[in-house]
């Protein structure tokens, strides 16, 4: 293997374990412990991707979650792939196969890069401005090409085979981040005896301390790595603490509720992944939260600051110390602070040539710059990098002196050869989680960063995420604040050695010798937003930071502005002359870093996606070839095709049989509410539109329930079982909400009523048998019931037996036929169904599904709540005035029936429709007009709510709601369809058996 850029010793990689992986089809090698980024850099590969808009070559910029450029696709099996993953976070394993994204045909030769030449004419808002009209080109042309050109990775085409998990966790203290601050907080917190959870998104703990120079950073006389190791061992031994690595907090919600995502197997070779949970989503409730999320280094914004080979200084130091990778051979550094000098010294000590340091400051009195001077590294004070050369890799930087006020560059241009430019623009506290939790920020004018100010939750921020920098300050603050937060007395003494730092100076946008329109100073690398785009947005009148963000798309890429946000804000504040503290920030929204859909969904996939409710007769229906339809969560038998029948034919046959012989329907899904109590009758009086006090025991009555706004809400038959005992039925879909509404009124409006409600929907199975032979079948199946019309008339109920099983039989009808419903304890449902089938065999009993049921009730003009009604229909609109009691003083919705709007004459009203051609079946939902014009718009006066071909009438029938429909009977209306206009005549809603003779057939 040729790890040309691997240093000969050091690092935290395991050199005895070589790992092969693929990048863009080429097999490369790295070591156990490498990330994809470090392994690529060890192989000298910087160019890993192309930018989103201009397809400019882009390299690895960072070493962590904030990476904007190095997004790759992991290829698994065919159709199985993970897009948009950061190479800086992928731990390599044997067999890892990755490719670049957003380039075609290859990352080295990308045709899309032609956009780069056109960049002067693709400014911010280009798409908004260009593709405005003609509107019809959007759908077919613009959208197709824009979608094709945009987007980063490719989504998988096959079902995700991996297993994901959810876990709830409760703890007293959650510590987010295991850098120096988090480790000290944890070390302090375990003394409190409280249950502590410590999490970090990285595989290794220690944060930036992990790769700090051991000559300049020591804790209790220990080198950084030794101290981290010792501390972690101490923590692991303690029983009060649970530690999770590779676990990133995605969201921090109110009431200290946090969502975390843990990677369990992504870093393992394929053979070790099998059958294991890939990722776990943690839902954590913490009494107290300590945020130690650290800080993110900023780049510098100058002309062509985006070339491969330009990297963050801290990242270069991490690659050298942690992975033992030198990112270049001839290095320059561009900085505004002392931290970058630690990188210079580290590289120098490892034998890598650091040619020059360009520093915007006049001077620095810090320890590290002095050391660099001693080492003979050339430092260009008060200077700036103003341009870089090199297409796929940086090869030259242009350096000029800054004017006194830093607004211009002066003097001669100096060109310096290099193959790596480290940039450091200072550090930004990672306040994302703090603001997600509702915290407010303040701005430090001197140090140029936002830091946590106020929060109402039980929470503290410690370390650099709190704006505290310098190892000593961080450790002392973490200890002190944790002590106070958790009320801890005893503490450990920390003795911290650190280098003395110089002052920090800041320029948001480095000046250029070119006129400003000719520069490409990238602010948001991934979305290709430049400083000029921001300036343009401001010139065009966008002022709010939220608007500039959306117009320029700065901060809207997958990295969510982790790198770009501060500079965008800084540039806006400078141009508009607004103080940054007043400008504010854009909103940080969850998730902090992208998470998989799989983890969000967890185990709720396939049959566990939603609850499926099945009736006790489901198995029989399945065996008898029923097709099912979803009604809410229920699976209801829709129709029973026999032989090669299609749905239409099956429904016609079933509907005919129900009226000529006998039909059997599973009505178990209807909601059933058991109502008991001395005020039960009064209660029904108040919830239904009609009167209930006089309903005799053993009788059934149809009821209509309204909302308080007067609109039809639900309907069903309620039976009086005894003096103070009723059983109410509701629609299948309305069962739960009706129960909820009734409970609401009982508990909050009418607590004086002595009524108890129990949902018994699942406790009873209901077999409905209808048709001229139904009585004979019931007589065979049940005992102890006299079925004579005088003893058991329509709308009444009897207790009986099916063998030894108690049953309730109601003589009620939704089809208009003679009809009985047998209710038995649910687990006897299938057996009673089978008995009915056996008893009805000689009469040609036919099982029918919901579709035939709908057809049969439409022949009778019975409404279905939710089909004929849509929340805007009153009982009067339905021509059901007869069911609205005039005598009752009040019921839910009564007053609203007398509002001027509900009493309007021209409301949409319920009517029947007949087509001129009896074979023509209207489409449900079709619009109805009184007058046909050549083309739309036409005045739509209503729509078709139900439509069928009636096999019993041999013609098509339809139900509809039409404006002023009551007065239109016999009138001709039109239903315009795409290819024709259908003429209809308004009719009565009852098409069959107006007198109701069949009920007693």
């Amino acid at each position: 293997m040729t790890n040309e850029y691997r240093l000969s010793s050091g690092g935290q990689i395991n050199r005895s374990e070589s790992i092969s992986f693929k990048f863009n089809g080429k097999t490369l090698y790295g070591y156990k412990g490498d990330t994809l980024a470090s392994a690529l850099l060890a192989n000298g590969i910087h160019l890993v991707g192309r930018s989103f808009k201009y397809h400019r070559p882009r390299g690895i910029l960072t070493s962590g979650v904030e990476e904007p450029n190095a997004l790759v696709q992991i290829i698994k099996d065919k159709g199985k792939t993970d897009p948009n993953l950061r190479a800086t976070q992928i731990e390599i394993y044997e067999g890892l196969n990755t490719t670049s994204q957003n380039s075609w045909p290859s990352v080295n030769f990308d045709l899309g890069s032609i956009n780069n030449l056109f960049s002067p004419i693709i400014p911010a808002g280009f798409y908004y401005k260009t593709f405005m009209w003609p509107a019809n080109l959007w759908e077919n042309v613009y959208e197709y090409f824009i979608r094709k050109a945009a987007g980063l990775g490719k989504s998988p085409t096959k079902k995700d085979p991996d297993i994901y998990d959810h876990c709830y966790y409760h703890c007293e203290v959650l510590i987010v981040g295991a850098g120096p601050a988090g480790l000290v907080a944890a070390k302090t917190a375990i003394n409190s005896g409280k249950k502590v959870l410590l999490v970090d998104e990285r595989p290794n703990f220690g944060g930036n301390l992990n790769f700090s120079n051991k000559d300049y950073n020591k804790i209790n006389q220990l080198a950084p790595l030794e101290w981290i190791k010792k501390t972690c061992l101490e923590l692991q031994k303690n029983k009060n603490i649970k530690i999770l690595s590779r676990t990133s907090v995605a969201a921090y919600h109110n009431y200290n509720y946090l969502i975390m995502i843990q990677n369990l197997t992504d870093h393992l070779p394929d053979k070790d992944k099998k059958e294991k949970i890939r990722q776990r989503l943690w839902k954590v409730r913490a009494k107290k939260v300590i945020l130690a999320t650290g800080s993110i280094e900023r780049p510098m914004i100058f002309d062509c600051n985006d070339r491969p080979g330009i990297m963050l200084s801290s990242a270069v130091r991490k690659y050298a110390n942690t992975y033992s990778v030198k990112c270049g051979n001839n290095i320059s550094i561009f900085t505004n602070n002392d931290d970058a000098y630690e990188t210079a010294i580290t590289l120098h000590n490892k034998g890598v040539k650091v040619k020059s340091i360009i520093d915007i400051r006049e001077k620095s009195d810090g320890t590290l710059p002095k050391k660099c001077n001693e080492l003979g590294i050339k430092i260009h004070w008060k200077s700036a990098v103003i341009y870089t050369e090199g297409y796929k890799k940086i090869n030259k930087i242009h350096v000029m002196r800054l004017s006194k006020d830093n607004t211009n560059v002066v003097g001669n241009k100096l060109k310096i050869d290099c193959d790596l430019l480290c940039v450091s623009g200072g550090y930004t506290p990672a306040v994302h989680l703090f603001t997600q939790s509702g915290g407010k920020l303040d701005y430090n004018e001197k140090k140029h960063y936002f830091f946590p100010k106020k929060n109402t939750l039980s929470q503290i921020s410690v370390g650099s995420c709190n704006g505290t920098f310098g190892l000593k300050n961080i450790i002392l603050e973490a200890q002190e604040k944790t002590r106070e937060f958790l009320d801890i007395k005893e503490t450990e003494q920390f003795n911290v050695l650190e280098s003395e730092g110089g002052v920090f100076e800041n320029i948001w946008l480095i000046p250029s010798s070119k006129i400003s329109g000719k520069t490409k100073s990238f602010v948001d690398y991934q979305n290709d937003s430049t400083a000029n785009d921001i300036k343009l947005a401001l010139r065009e009148g966008f002022k709010s930071i939220e608007h500039v963000k959306r117009y320029t798309t700065t901060g809207m890429a997958t990295d969510q502005g982790k790198i770009s946000n501060m500079h965008a804000l800084g540039i806006i504040s400078e141009i508009t002359n607004t103080k940054l503290g007043e400008l504010g920030t854009t909103t940080f929204r969850p998730p902090y870093s992208p998470i998989t859909f799989g983890a969000l969904v967890g185990r709720n996939v396939g049959q566990f996606f939603d609850i499926t409710r099945k009736t006790p007769m489901h198995d029989w229906q399945e065996k008898n070839n029923a097709k099912f339809e979803d009604v809410g969560q229920w699976k209801r038998a829709w129709y029973y095709p026999s032989g090669n029948e299609n749905m239409y034919d099956a429904v016609q046959r079933e509907s005919k049989a129900a009226r000529t012989k006998a039909g059997i329907l599973d009505a178990s899904t209807l909601g059933k509410i058991d109502i008991q109590g001395s005020d039960a009758s009064e209660f029904l009086n108040r919830v239904y539109t009609n009167a209930w006090s006089k309903l005799a025991i053993g009788k059934c009555r149809y009821g209509l329930m309204l909302n308080e706004d007067g609109m039809v809400y639900d309907d069903g038959v309620t039976t009086r079982l005894s003096e103070n005992h009723y059983i109410m039925t509701t629609t299948t879909g309305g069962a739960a909400t009706v129960m909820g509404k009734l409970e609401d009124f009982l508990q909050t409006e009418w607590p004086e009523l002595k009524v108890y409600l129990t949902s018994v929907t699942d406790h009873f199975a209901t077999v409905s048998v209808c048709g001229p032979h139904s009585k004979k079948i019931l007589e065979k199946v049940t005992q102890n019931i006299d079925y004579s019309d005088s003893n058991f008339p329509h709308m009444s109920f009897k207790n009986g037996l099916v063998d030894k099983i108690k049953c309730r039989v109601m003589r009620i009808s939704f089809t208009g036929e003679l009809s009985y419903e047998i209710n038995v304890q649910a687990n006897y449902g299938q057996s009673v169904w089978e008995k009915c089938m056996a008893a009805g065999k000689e009469y040609g009993i036919t099982p029918y599904g919901t579709e035939a049921m709908h057809l049969l009730r439409a022949e009778k003009g019975f409404i279905i709540v939710g089909q004929e009604t849509d929340g805007t229909v009153t009982p009067v609109d339905l021509q059901m005035d007869w069911i609205v009691s005039k005598k009752k003083y009040d019921f839910i919705g009564k007053r609203s029936l007398y509002r001027s709007d509900t009493m309007r004459e021209d409301r949409k009203q319920y009517v029947g429709l007949l087509t001129n051609d009896p074979k023509e079946i209207l489409e449900e939902g079709a619009q109805i007009v009184a007058e046909v014009k050549n083309k739309p718009p036409m005045d739509m006066i209503g729509h078709v709510t139900s439509s069928y071909y009636s096999p019993n009438l041999n013609k098509s029938i339809a139900l509809a709601v039409v404006k002023n429909g009551k007065k239109l009977k016999g009138k001709k209306l039109y239903v315009p369809m795409p290819n024709k206009t259908i003429e209809v005549i308004v009719s009565d809603t009852i098409f069959l058996d107006k007198e109701g003779k069949r009920l007693n057939a």
């Binding site: 009431y255 308080e708 909820g740 609401d744 607590p751």
Partner: protein, 90 residues
């Protein structure tokens, strides 16, 4: 994301509850005697307060009881919970 203290069951996760809108609206005893405007006021008009708001909650996936809560809508802090018919302590 709240934790709500049901007055009957104690502290429970917000996912067990459903929201029921503004509290202390009293259904008129004699609706027929109200003008359209008065009825509309009861039926449609609701407060939308930034600050302490009194609202109805139902422990729908628990005891199924309704109760009231005083919540600060600016930070979602629930300052008190109390049974129907009782008065808020805040």
């Amino acid at each position: 994301m709240f934790i709500i203290k049901c007055p009957y069951c104690g502290e429970r996760d917000h996912s067990e509850f459903s929201y029921g809108g503004e509290a202390h609206l009293i259904r008129p005893k004699q609706p027929t005697e109200l003008s359209d405007d008065q009825w509309a006021e009861y039926l449609f008009m609701r407060k939308n307060i930034k600050g302490l708001q009194y609202e109805r909650w139902n422990h729908s996936h628990g005891c199924r009881r309704w109760f009231n809560a005083a919540r600060d809508t600016s930070n979602d802090k629930i300052h008190s919970v109390y049974k129907i018919g009782e008065k808020s302590s805040k």
